[in-house]
Structure formats: structure tokens, C-alpha cells
């Protein structure tokens, strides 16, 4: 049976979701996404610069027929702003999937969980497939799941920090009680961070800066694809238990003398 990530009504082969921010240009964005193997890409909603409307548009480089576009509510500090942004995003006609983030503080970019819950309730009622960015807080994760969110996306570490999974135990608790996919969102720094998340049994990883900010974003995109795939396979294969002492790999029988 094929191992798929199910979000809302759709299923995906890739468990890596990538952002489109911070790249040198749209051509590099496109290449990095291709190499990452991602089928879902996040985008932000912003005002058009009307005095110099950029003739090129991100969607000229990302075919919405090929990729699932996942608009985010980055930069929103209230539930009201986040809901407004989601409605605008949906009006673009690229679907119902939304990455909900309501930011609580501009230094940490940690989410405001009560405001996230408030926005999620409204959005689920309005028929959005809501993927909320959350703190590594099992209680709120459960509440969001109960509201009807299609996944929960706990942070590994602050957005763009590259610190990796700082609290694997909370992520494990979130996974234990989850009936929806758990996607680690934010804080991944390098390939091993992504692999660790997947080896733990997370359903997916979402990242942007780790790829776009690497010295060679295209090479890192490929590394992340392989890390997520390797981590997933290792999880499915079932790792050996950790032991303090050695167990010989070669037979003890038939030794000389």
C-alpha cells in the first residue's frame, strides 16, 4: 500500500511542505521546490504595490495545477486579521487549504494560541481545511483537532531559528493523542532535524528558511527531500531499541581455536 499524507480530501506522496519566501528570485524558488519534491507549497497574502506593480507573479512560476498552494496568515496578530486573510486567499480560487498562524509576539513569532483557536473555529465553520501552526502544547493541539482542524503543526523551534526540535517529548505527546496528521512546522535547521522529526513518527515537515537560507538552496532542497524520505522509512521500518552494552553482529560459533 502506498504511504500517503492525507490532508482534507487530498493525499500526497511527499511529506515535505516547503515555503516560497526568502529566495533570490522566482526562478530559484521554482527550482528549489522541484528539487524538494514537495507537492504542497506555502505562500503569503500581501498588498500589490500599485505604484510599481510587479508584472511577474509567484503563480507564474508555480502552477496551481501541479502544486497545492497553501496560503498562510503570516504577520496576522489577531483572529480577525487571520480570518480576513484566509477569505481573501480563498477568493483567489486555489482551494480551501489554509495555514493558520496568529502570531503573539514579533521577537519569538510564537503563536497566540487562544487567538488561533478563535480563528480556527470560524474558519472550520466556513469550510476551510485548516492547518494551524501551534506551540508544542498538547492541550491546544487536542482542542484544535476537536474543533475540526485537518492537521496540527507544532513548531520545532522559533520560525527561522534553525534550532531543530527543542522539545521532542511534547511532540511525542501531541502525536500520541492525535487523530489528524502532525506536521512539524518551523525551526528546522538542517537535514538531520527533518529526519529526526520523521523518525519520531511525525506525518510531515514544513520548512522555508532552512532551504531558502542555505548557502546552496538547491542542494539543501534535495537534502531535505532525502532526509524526510529517509526519516519516514526509518520510522516505518522500526528502529532497534537503544542499549548500553554491545551485542555482537558476527556469530560467536565457529571461532578459531
Amino acid at each position: 500500500m502506498e504511504d500517503l499524507l492525507k490532508l482534507g480530501e487530498r493525499s500526497y506522496r511527499s511529506r515535505l511542505i516547503v515555503g516560497t519566501g526568502k529566495y533570490k528570485d522566482f526562478a530559484e524558488t521554482k527550482k528549489a521546490i522541484e528539487l524538494s519534491g514537495a507537492e504542497i507549497v506555502t505562500v503569503a497574502v500581501r498588498r500589490v504595490n500599485i505604484t510599481d506593480p510587479n508584472k511577474e507573479n509567484l503563480l507564474d512560476y508555480l502552477d496551481p495545477k501541479k502544486y497545492t498552494i497553501l496560503p498562510n496568515t503570516a504577520g496576522c496578530y489577531t483572529a480577525e486579521d487571520a480570518v480576513r486573510t484566509c477569505r481573501l486567499a480563498r477568493a483567489a480560487g486555489i482551494g480551501n487549504l489554509i495555514k493558520l498562524e496568529v502570531i503573539g509576539d514579533d521577537k519569538t513569532l510564537f503563536p497566540d494560541m487562544p487567538a488561533t483557536l478563535e480563528a480556527a473555529k470560524i474558519l472550520v465553520q466556513e469550510g476551510f481545511v485548516v492547518l494551524p501552526y501551534i506551540a508544542d502544547d498538547p492541550i491546544t493541539a487536542k482542542k484544535l483537532q476537536d474543533i475540526g482542524c485537518a492537521a496540527v503543526m507544532p513548531l520545532a523551534a522559533p520560525i527561522g531559528s534553525g534550532l531543530g526540535i527543542r522539545n521532542p517529548y511534547n511532540i511525542r505527546i501531541i502525536m500520541e493523542q492525535a487523530r489528524v496528521p502532525v506536521i512539524v512546522d518551523a525551526g528546522v535547521g538542517t537535514a538531520s532535524d527533518a529526519a529526526i522529526a520523521m523518525e519520531m513518527g511525525c506525518d510531515g515537515v514544513l520548512m522555508n528558511t532552512a532551504i531558502a537560507g542555505a548557502r546552496d538552496p538547491l542542494l539543501m532542497a534535495e537534502a531535505m527531500r532525502q532526509a524526510v524520505e529517509a526519516g519516514r522509512k526509518a520510522y516505518l521500518a522500526g528502529r532497534i531499541p537503544k542499549k548500553l552494552y554491545a551485542t555482537a553482529s558476527s556469530p560467536l560459533d565457529g571461532m578459531l581455536a
Binding site: 515555503g19 519566501g21 526568502k22 498588498r47 504595490n49 477569505r87 481573501l88 486567499a89 477568493a91
Partner: protein, 78 residues
Amino acid sequence: MVAVEDTVFLIHVKICINGEEKEVVDGLSIARLLEELQIRPARVVIELNREIVSRQAHGSTVLKEGDALEIVQFVGGG
């Protein structure tokens, strides 16, 4: 007799586009405004006074004094 067109003055109305105050010709539709700004309608979403205006309604929606218009698009983000 003078033709009607010759006596018509172009009346302007003040509206707010993406947070900036602008003067536009009275009777201008959203579709015409986008054309003037060289913005492709398929790539943007319009909100007029906090209500989303569907693409089909761009042609029939006329801007009035005091309107607040938002023109948004998708950009790179994480």
C-alpha cells in the same frame, strides 16, 4: 447646440487603494482601474470596504467617494 460630451467635466472621487489615498475618475469600475494600473485580474483578489469582490463583479462594481479598496496577491512566504 453643443454636444453633451463637450460640456462634461471629468469629476474625480477620492478613494483609498492599499492604504494610499488616490483620486480616480468618477464612475470608474474595478475592472477599468486594474487595467489602468496594469494589474492582471486573474492574479489578484479585491476587497472593497472589507467585502470581497468576485472577479465576475469587477466590471459592474463602480468606485465611489470614500471607498477603501484592497488589491492583494500571493507572494513568497513560509
